[in-house]
């Protein structure tokens, strides 16, 4: 049986002409290889060049930052995060950038977070600890912290993340590198990548999507999501747009709002943050359904104006949104078209096409992973650890995540499920749905 398949496959390969190759694998070549390998590789080289040529500029930006020494407000909103707080504030006191105020908002926790927070406030480890007895949702927590911040820059953190000792300094430097920067995203990677297969695969995914992907989109000027886990904003800018709107997906939303105001968004690859990702497939599915739904909600509904040609139209905003929408939503469905075509017209060859696709993706993953790891400035995880897991990425990325995404998109497009997500208190999502936010 297997002999027969291999025999059959080898015969298929030996007769494969370039024209056939294009005919069978257009999806891989045009969309995946071009966008996620070729473009990224070229841009990565360009970023490296820029890094060398702007070394002096960077040094003077750093000097300017420390000379000005502005107060930086660190906002840590969350529910039931008390257990992480002591470790977090302790690590913040180790930061190279010292002029910070820490504002923690406890959004209706029902554990011992209030007691821990008050204690840390009393001990002077937290500057301001605010508690809302009733939960208001992530956005309201962040907005309360923002309202009482006094800094020139605002940094939003998640309590369960940890940060390199120079992360604050590095995320602030882009504001001093060029004018008009409204927000800077930090480099978020996976801390618990050794926990299980699902966290290891996410480790690879984060590395590809954030460390590499955001470097590229940032260079191209279409970087679009400042992670809530680690993002810095100019206080005047974020206050002028009224802070965060109701989530989920409020990280992407606020980034778009800042872009729309005409500010640049930058990625700080050297501002390292480690986060714990879902450690079971079940939890991961839940998280991704929420994320993917928010893409529909924010791109197609709330911020669909970036696609319209109007007075405030900006090419980069359009391109940023288009790229995001195209590569996620359109291609997701296009893939099903590809699958249908293959199953309909190339049925006898389907197995061979499938095997080739798996091999192509896997080879690309290996080359990409090895080649791109040359561009790592530093890392928390060894390159070699991931190598044996890379073959799984085809299934994880090509099938698992795609299936989750499809379900999410369909749910959101037809049923607006995100408004029913208990991630937000019901009292706020009712209004969001009504206002088409």
């Amino acid at each position: 049986m297997i002999d027969k398949i291999i025999d059959n496959y080898l015969r298929f390969l030996s007769t494969l002409t370039p024209a056939d190759f294009l005919e069978f694998f257009w999806f891989f070549l045009i969309f995946e290889f071009f966008r996620y390998f070729l473009v990224e590789f070229i841009v990565l080289i360009l970023t490296e060049v820029k890094k060398v040529t702007s070394r002096k500029q960077r040094a003077s930006a750093s000097a300017e930052l420390f000379f000005e020494n502005p107060l930086v407000s660190i906002l840590i909103p969350g529910k039931n995060e008390g257990k992480h707080l002591y470790k977090l504030v302790n690590s913040l006191s180790e930061q190279t950038y010292k002029n910070i105020e820490i504002i923690v908002v406890d959004d209706g926790s029902d554990d011992d977070t209030p007691a821990i927070g008050r204690m840390l406030e009393k001990a002077g480890l937290i500057d301001v600890f605010l508690r809302n007895e009733v939960r208001g949702g992530k956005a309201s927590g962040a907005n309360l912290a923002l309202r009482y911040s006094k800094g020139k820059y605002i940094i939003h953190l998640d309590a369960d993340c940890s940060y390199d000792f120079d992360a604050i300094e590095n995320i602030l430097i882009p504001f001093y590198m060029e004018l008009g920067v409204g927000g800077v995203g930090g480099n978020v990677n996976v801390r618990n990548y050794k926990h299980s297969l699902v966290t290891t695969l996410q480790g690879v995914e984060y590395y590809n999507a954030i460390t590499i992907g955001r470097k590229v989109t940032s260079y191209l000027g279409i970087y679009r999501v400042i992670s809530g886990a680690f993002g810095a904003f100019r206080a005047d800018v974020i206050k002028s747009i009224g802070g965060w709107d109701i989530g989920p997906g409020l990280d992407g939303d606020i980034t778009v709002k800042i872009r729309k105001k005409g500010y640049k968004i930058r990625f700080a690859a050297d501002a390292h943050c480690l986060t714990s990702v879902p450690n079971t497939f079940k939890k991961l599915v839940k998280q991704r359904l929420r994320w993917d739904k928010s893409l529909i909600r924010f791109r197609l509904r709330k911020h669909n104006d970036v696609f319209k040609v109007q007075a405030s139209f900006r090419l980069l905003d359009f391109f940023s949104a288009f790229e995001n929408f195209f590569y996620n939503v359109v291609l997701n469905f296009k893939w099903y078209i590809y699958l249908t075509i293959m199953l309909t017209f190339y049925r006898p060859l389907f197995i061979n096409v499938f095997i080739t696709n798996v091999l192509l993706y896997t080879i690309m993953n290996y080359i990409k992973f090895l080649l791109f790891s040359l561009f790592r400035d530093r890392s928390h995880s060894s390159v070699s650890y991931f190598l044996i897991y890379l073959p799984c990425m085809v299934l994880y990325f090509g099938l698992f995540l795609r299936a989750v995404r499809t379900i999410a998109y369909l749910q959101e497009i037809f049923f607006k499920m995100s408004y029913k997500d208990t991630w937000n208190p019901r009292k706020t999502s009712i209004h969001a749905e009504y206002l088409r936010l």
Partner: protein, 473 residues
């Protein structure tokens, strides 16, 4: 009964009635405290309560039993609305014609005083306990109850004990009562809890909610409002407009309509007007009205106020004399017990019969000891005595010995030294002691006296000691 005879003296008026002499006091200036000893009781004419309080305190606060145990009566038409004062005196008459009604009380008091024995205890605490239980015995009072009292620096007075202390030292009564209880003289019941300034032990404190950062009490509070549709969160102030008293969202400009539907108030926030710090939890600070210290309430000393009830042991201690075992000063290094001192004195006198030498015994007396000790407390008191002993020790020969007659009187031997030189040494020593006090205890005025008696082998040792201490005890 007979007619009262009034003698006007410049020290007040003496009223004689039925063989008893009453000292009638009209003015504070007219009181010579020593004069109280010569009368059976005191009658104070009550015009101004402050001055009555002062006279009563001076009598009850005195260290001599024949002063502090003297019955005191107030002459007043109206009853006195001061529980503490009432507890300190023995009764009231509306005018001097009613003196007859006091005689029975005075005689009862005299009888009871005769039951008492006064052991000369060395420690200040023991002296205070003795005063307290002997007073209780003469007044036939079995319990010592705390009285909430505005004039007390610890908010509660135990009149018979607190009267010995000035406002700044009043907290010492709690310590003394603890000792009395641990000696088994009293049993106690919980009454209340007080908080004392950690600097000066006063309980006159003013409590305020303050900013946790700068301790200012100048703060303002505001409700936090969460506008659901846009997620804006801020103090109510942000939502106010200039036209009407409705609330409008500063982010999305919508009017707030219905709490719980489009907005809610999840918390309250306080803002410091001094340092602009924002917070939700006030600190509570206590400002001491006595010394001005302003600290977090957590730093206050917490003390329990109890009601005390005299035990059988307490009653018999009043009659037989109370000498505390735990708080005495026997163990001060370089001293010997008074009994041992007497024995050694006896041998020295025997020796002098054969050798015709010249030996002396000397005494140093702290004239204002009760005032000094009440200021110091027992630990510092011990420290002071230790210092004194070490100075004395270094000025006498190693064969000479030192002992305490009481907490205010130190006795020592100076053998084989001419009387004149002994006197000279003592004079120098007292000057040294005064210098020592001045340098270690600022603001403490300790007054010393001394006396030297040359040993005469014709007289028994008891006579020497009496001669030496007669002026002091």
């Amino acid at each position: 009964m007979g007619q009262a005879i009034h003698h006007s003296e410049n020290r007040g008026t003496r009223i004689e009635y039925a063989g008893h002499s009453f000292l009638h006091i009209k003015h504070l200036e007219s009181l010579n405290i020593e004069d109280v000893k010569n009368h059976s009781a005191v009658i104070i004419e009550t015009r101004d309560l402050d001055y009555v309080r002062m006279i009563v305190s001076r009598i009850r606060g005195n260290i001599a039993p024949d002063i502090y145990l003297k019955p005191i009566f107030l002459q007043s038409r109206n009853s006195i609305n001061d529980l503490v004062l009432e507890n300190l005196v023995d009764g009231r008459i509306s005018n001097l014609d009613k003196v007859a009604s006091l005689v029975e009380l005075v005689e009862e008091n005299l009888n009871r005083v005769q039951d008492l024995t006064f052991a000369n205890s060395i420690s200040f605490e023991a002296q205070m306990i003795t005063k307290m239980i002997t007073l209780m015995y003469t007044k036939d009072q079995k319990s010592l109850l705390p009285i909430p009292y505005i004039y007390s620096s610890i908010n509660f007075a135990y009149p018979l004990l607190s009267v010995n202390f000035s406002e700044t030292d009043e907290h010492a009564v709690l310590n003394i009562l603890d000792i009395a209880e641990s000696e088994g003289l009293f049993r106690s019941e919980y009454y209340d809890r007080i908080y004392l300034c950690n600097q000066c032990s006063s309980s006159h404190l003013s409590y305020r909610e303050v900013c946790p950062k700068c301790s200012s009490s100048n703060t303002k509070s505001d409700d936090i409002i969460h506008h659901f549709p846009c997620g804006y969160v801020g103090p109510m102030q942000d939502f106010k407009n200039e036209i009407d008293d409705k609330l409008d969202c500063p982010k999305c400009n919508k009017r707030l309509r219905h709490i719980g539907v489009d907005y809610d108030k999840p918390s309250v926030i306080h803002e410091c007007k001094n340092c602009s710090h924002t917070f939700q939890d006030f600190f509570v600070n206590a400002k001491c009205l006595s010394c001005g210290s302003d600290r977090s309430v957590e730093q206050l000393k917490s003390k329990i106020i109890k009601s005390y009830f005299l035990t059988k042991k307490g009653e018999s201690a009043a009659i037989k004399g109370f000498v505390t075992t735990t708080k005495d000063i026997d163990e001060i290094f370089g001293t010997i017990k008074f009994d041992t001192f007497k024995t050694m004195l006896k041998y020295e006198i025997e020796r002098l019969k054969q050798t015709e030498g010249s030996s002396n015994i000397c005494a140093i007396y702290i004239r204002n000891s009760s005032l000094v000790y009440s200021k110091l407390g027992s630990t510092l008191q011990k420290g002071l005595l230790k210092d004194l002993i070490s100075v004395i020790r270094s000025n006498i020969r190693s064969s000479d010995v030192i002992s305490f007659v009481s907490s205010s009187t130190i006795i020592l031997s100076m053998n084989e030294i001419p009387n004149k030189i002994s006197n000279k040494i003592m004079g120098n020593m007292v000057r040294l002691l005064e210098e020592l006090i001045a340098s270690t205890f600022k603001k403490l005025d300790v007054q010393f006296e001394y006396k030297v008696v040359a040993l005469d082998h014709h007289k028994p040792y008891e006579e020497h000691i009496t001669e030496l201490t007669i002026d002091f005890i």
